[in-house]
Symmetry: C2
């Protein structure tokens, strides 16, 4: 355990194939202790964002959709990829409306978590907003189709701890949300 | 919201570039409502596994390492990719010893979560084991180098809820662990 705190250096970078959802590149990383070079794949992708949108009745808005990686339906928080022309607050507001038809108020930032720190350079930003109402217009992407599910805050807490949520970006957001909620109510 | 519960069908699959950490393929998915075909990238990768290894002093073993995606250090549970010749229980026992030098007893399965259900077909399996002791041999991969950190169970719980852990595979495992722990102690 020699090189505590020594960062690896990227000494060269090389483009890889474009996979649509992300660009790829290979970073040549120099190991601090023996200075050997290791070629590492990086998926270069924009940040994304999701939101815990609370209705006036104390429910949280979820979307249920078919996920192509695992070929199963999942239940997730609304959200998606931030476009280049917008910041993540605007992006998550747009995604909430496009995916669910809900708009919400009093947006508060909970924090960000890496999408996957091992081979992705992007982050997912987590938001909470209240007074979510069906006042907007659904506008799915061509390859999207989803249903809405509403769970109460306490149902959601139980589902989280049971391991119900199959997308870790949803679980990460909920961890930060419950921490924020429990602090606010103390 | 027409096609509630209708699964998309994969009508064709095509190999994509080999990125070492994963093979890639494109699945051509038929949307249930309009039968249009959408070409989706899938990262085809083996499952992985991680473990909450508890020492006799009630500490959990973590590893701190430099992650190439975000070019920062993270603190994570020990774990890694399951090799083709082993099941995930053997794989996680091997990874614990190779990464940390610890071996442990009474391995119990907590469950699995998709690596990323959107574009990956793999899962991460979560385990807990006790009586973890430094009786094994560290054997890092060529591109690995890490330090050990031990946190008590209650320190770990606080860190989880604070959003300290930067790899969601660690957070997912800890969610299931605390659920299991709180059930066991009731």
């Amino acid at each position: 355990m020699s090189s505590l705190n020594k960062e690896w250096q990227c000494v060269l970078t090389e483009s890889g194939p474009d996979l649509k959802l992300f660009k790829t590149r290979f970073d040549f990383m120099k190991k601090p202790d023996d200075e050997q070079i290791h070629k590492m794949i990086i998926l270069d992708s924009p940040d994304s964002a999701n939101v815990i949108a609370l209705t006036p009745e104390g429910k949280i808005v979820f979307v249920r959709q078919f996920r192509f990686g695992i070929k199963e339906f999942t239940v997730e928080l609304p959200g998606g990829i931030i476009e280049t022309f917008e910041n993540h607050e605007k992006g998550v507001q747009r995604e909430l409306e496009e995916e669910t038809g809900y708009t919400a108020q009093n947006w508060q930032y909970l924090g960000k978590v890496p999408s996957n720190p091992v081979f992705m350079n992007s982050y997912i930003h987590h938001w909470v907003a209240d007074n979510a109402r069906l006042t907007g217009t659904i506008n799915w992407d061509e390859a999207e189709e989803m249903d809405l599910i509403l769970y109460s805050v306490e149902e959601t807490r139980k589902l989280l701890y049971k391991g119900f949520f199959q997308h870790s970006h949803t679980s990460n957001a909920l961890i930060l949300f419950f921490q924020w909620l429990d602090k606010s109510s103390n």
